[in-house]
C-alpha cells in the first residue's frame, strides 16, 4: 500500500491538454457559427436548426467564425509543432497499420477493446486522432480557399475552384463533427479516460 502514490502514470503532457481544450472550444465556435453561415446559402437541400447555431444572423456568425479562426489556427500550430518536434506524434500515433486499425475498431464495436494503459493509444484512437488533425488541416485550407479566392487563388485552384472548395469545406466539417461525436461517445463508455485530459495522469490499473 505504501507504493500507492507511485502508481500514477503520466498520460497527457501539459501542452496536449491545454491545446486540446482550446481546440475543443475553437471547434465548437467554428462549427456553430459555420452552420449559420451555411444557412445563408445552403449547398444542399437542408438547413441547420438556428437554435444550434452561433451569431444570431449572418454578420454575427461571420464575426464569430473569423475571430475563432485565429484561435483554431494559432493553437493548431502550437499543437502540431509540439507534436512533430517533441516526438509526441511519432511516439503516440505511430506505428499504424490498416490491419491494426480494423482489428481495434471491430474490437471496440464488440465492446472488447482493451484500454489498460491510458498512456498508449490503441490503433483505432491513433487513426481517429490522425484523421481529425487531417480534417482540421483540410478545413483551414479550404476555408482559406473560400475566404481569399483571389489572394490565395493557388489554394482555391488546388480545391478544384471556389464552388468545390465550399463542398470540401462542408465535407471536412461533417467528418470533423462525426469524429468528435465518436470521441465523446468513447469517453462516455470509458469515463476514466476523461480526468486524464484535465489532470494529465491516470492510476495504473494493471
Amino acid at each position: 500500500m505504501e507504493t500507492a502514490q507511485a502508481q500514477w502514470v503520466k498520460v497527457h503532457p501539459l501542452v496536449v491538454r491545454v491545446t486540446h481544450w482550446i481546440n475543443a472550444f475553437a471547434i465548437l465556435i467554428m462549427v456553430a457559427s459555420g452552420w449559420r453561415i451555411y444557412n445563408a446559402s445552403p449547398l444542399f437541400p437542408f438547413r441547420f436548426p438556428n437554435e444550434l447555431t452561433l451569431g444570431g444572423w449572418l454578420a454575427g456568425a461571420l464575426q464569430w467564425h473569423f475571430a475563432a479562426l485565429w484561435l483554431l489556427v494559432l493553437n493548431g500550430i502550437v499543437y502540431v509543432g509540439y507534436g512533430i518536434f517533441s516526438g509526441h506524434f511519432r511516439r503516440k500515433l505511430f506505428p499504424l497499420t490498416p490491419r491494426a486499425v480494423l482489428n481495434d475498431m471491430l474490437a471496440a464495436l464488440r465492446g472488447k477493446l482493451a484500454h489498460d494503459d491510458l498512456a498508449v493509444y490503441n490503433a483505432a484512437q491513433r487513426a481517429a486522432y490522425l484523421a481529425i488533425i487531417l480534417c482540421l488541416a483540410v478545413l483551414v485550407l479550404s476555408g482559406l480557399a473560400i475566404w481569399k479566392p483571389v489572394q490565395f487563388r493557388e489554394i482555391t485552384w488546388l480545391m478544384g475552384g471556389y464552388e468545390s472548395a465550399r463542398v470540401v469545406h462542408f465535407v471536412a466539417m461533417a467528418m470533423t463533427v462525426l469524429i468528435v461525436l465518436v470521441h465523446i461517445v468513447m469517453v462516455i463508455l470509458v469515463p476514466r479516460t476523461f480526468p486524464t485530459i484535465i489532470t494529465g495522469r491516470a492510476r495504473r490499473t494493471s
Binding site: 500507492a4 461571420l62 473569423f66
Partner: protein
C-alpha cells in the same frame, strides 16, 4: 479477471481522492453546460463585452486583409461559356423595388480629395476608354456567379480626375440609398472597374444602371450599384452593411 482488479483498485482510493475527482467531473459538467449555453448564441452575441471583442477582431481582420492584399494579384478570368445565366439579382431590397435612374439627367458627383471635381454626365463616361472582364462575383452569403462587366478602369478614372491616391478611402453614395467604401489599394487594382455595361449591354436597372463599381477582389456587397456620388477621404466612411456588422474590408 480484469474487472475484479479494477474494482479492487477503486476501493483503494481514499474518499478524499474520490471527492476531488467528483469535483473535477462537476466542474467539467459545468463547463459543458457553459458550452451548451454558448450554443444559444443570440444572447451571447448581443452581450456588450462580447460585441466589443468581435468588432475588435473584425477590425484586426481588416488590417490582416489589407496586409495580405497584393495589388498585382489578378482574380481569375473565365471564358464566355462560363457565364452564369440568368445572373442573380441581389440587393438589400427585392427586385420589384429596383430604383430607376434617369440617364439623361444623371450626373456623377465627385468630392473630397479630388482636384477636378466637376460632375460627369453619362455620354462623357461612355466616351472614356473601356475594358471588359469575365469574373466571379462572390456573395458574402457564399453563392457565386460569373458575369461579364465592361467600363472604365477605375485607376484611370481616379488619375484623370486628379484624386489623391495617397488617401485611405474611396466612398460611394447610390441612388438606392446604399452606401459603401473601399480602401485605396483596391480602388487602384487593375481589375477594379467603373462599370457601365453588363453582358455587352448598357447596364440594366437591376444590375445597377447607370453605373456600378465592379471589384472581383471584393465580396458582392462591396460592389455598389446606381452610384451617384463618390469621394476620396482619410476618414473611415463605413457603409450600409458594414455599419451593421459585416466586415469592412471583405476582400477576396
Amino acid at each position: 479477471m480484469k474487472k475484479r482488479t479494477m474494482d479492487a483498485s477503486l476501493a483503494e482510493h481514499s474518499p478524499k481522492l474520490i471527492r476531488s475527482i467528483e469535483r473535477r467531473l462537476f466542474l467539467k459538467r459545468g463547463l459543458s453546460l457553459g458550452a451548451l449555453a454558448l450554443l444559444s448564441g443570440c444572447e451571447l452575441t448581443d452581450d456588450e463585452g462580447v460585441q466589443k471583442v468581435l468588432l475588435a477582431m473584425s477590425r484586426w481582420n481588416d488590417s490582416a486583409q489589407a496586409w495580405l492584399f497584393n495589388p498585382n494579384k489578378l482574380a481569375p478570368e473565365y471564358p464566355e461559356s462560363a457565364i452564369t445565366k440568368p445572373f442573380p439579382f441581389n440587393a438589400y431590397y427585392g427586385e420589384d423595388e429596383v430604383r430607376l435612374v434617369d440617364g439623361a439627367s444623371y450626373k456623377l458627383e465627385l468630392s473630397g480629395l479630388i482636384r477636378d471635381n466637376k460632375p460627369w454626365t453619362l455620354p462623357e463616361l461612355y466616351a472614356l476608354p473601356q475594358t471588359s472582364q469575365i469574373t466571379r462575383h462572390i456573395c458574402v452569403e457564399g453563392w457565386s456567379a460569373i458575369g461579364k462587366w465592361s467600363g472604365v478602369r477605375f485607376s484611370d478614372f481616379l488619375a484623370r480626375v486628379g484624386a489623391d491616391t495617397t488617401a485611405k478611402y474611396v466612398g460611394f453614395e447610390c441612388a438606392d440609398d446604399y452606401t459603401t467604401s473601399i480602401d485605396m489599394a483596391t480602388a487602384l487594382h487593375p481589375q477594379t472597374l467603373l462599370t457601365l455595361r453588363f453582358a455587352d449591354q448598357i447596364l440594366p436597372p437591376k444590375y445597377g444602371f447607370p453605373m456600378k463599381l465592379r471589384m472581383p477582389t471584393k465580396l458582392g456587397f462591396k460592389n455598389p450599384k446606381h452610384i451617384t456620388a463618390m469621394y476620396v477621404t482619410n476618414e473611415y466612411p463605413g457603409g450600409y452593411w458594414e455599419d451593421q456588422g459585416y466586415n469592412w474590408f471583405s476582400g477576396s
